[in-house]
Symmetry: C2
Subunit: 155 residues, 2 copies
Amino acid sequence: MSELISQAYERLRSQGGRMTNQRRLLLSILDSLGEHPTAEELLLIARKQDPDLNLSTVYRTLRWLEAENLVSARLFAEERRQERFDAVLPSEHHHFMCTNCKNVIEFDTELLVDIKSQFQDSSGASVSMGSIVLYGLCPSCRQGSVAQELDREVG
Amino acid sequence: MSELISQAYERLRSQGGRMTNQRRLLLSILDSLGEHPTAEELLLIARKQDPDLNLSTVYRTLRWLEAENLVSARLFAEERRQERFDAVLPSEHHHFMCTNCKNVIEFDTELLVDIKSQFQDSSGASVSMGSIVLYGLCPSCRQGSVAQELDREVG
DNA sequence: GTGTATGCAAAGTTTTTGCATTCGA
DNA sequence: TCGAATGCAAAAACTTTGCATACAC
């Protein structure tokens, strides 16, 4: 069983919570999904298996997981308000978002620690975490980017 | 006259737009403010000089400035939905947010270019911009952080 | 059985939009 | 003058909450 799911069971047990079908379903989707779904997207996927699942259950589950630090919510500035949810991976990871097709690519870097310590040294703050978001064109949108850019502008 | 304001005049002239009192006021606040106001905060400040100013005018002005690349909108994940607006500085700048007092500190770094090129090389994407957000405790919250953390949890 | 989690509907929060009016060039 | 910008109110988009019911333990 995956780390996410076994951790969730553990937390539930230790705080007297319950493992419901809804939570099991959402956890398994979050765990296997190689994407960063919004709450709505998650609902749509989950409803293929449980058509009665409710959006507020999705939000409540995500917020609980977030509070437990098993999932993190991210806002990409390009999408005004909608949050995207990530299963928290063992290593800090960062994101690239294609400004054309909106696809997200995760990446890792060891260089952030340098930025952190640079900032800590100069400011006197203590940094506990950090995240990077990069924007640009993904490989497939680089080709034919002119046509696609036009499409998007005219839309 | 500041870069922001003169640029705004320039853009208006070239696209047949008009410099209204409302825009002038908002521009001068954005220009002088050493903070990252939300639309609502900007409205409150502006209303000291023009009590009739409307929130939708603030949003429309900010969105126009954003489209002109004179202001950038940022979402800090810690605050769920509210955007903060920045006058765009000549150099890319990044943010640290104190998880305790929510204050924001800007910083610069030359190290992001390395992360960009690292990612470009490995992914084949072309990166046009990027932003870093760091979280932690600011210098003043580091002292007495225990008491303050408790305060926040109990809230 | 008991209390946690759910579904539903209503409310909350932030941002956008339609329309009549005002105002800058 | 006349079209761009504003104020207002209503809608839209996203998220949270209250409450009665269902269900995990």
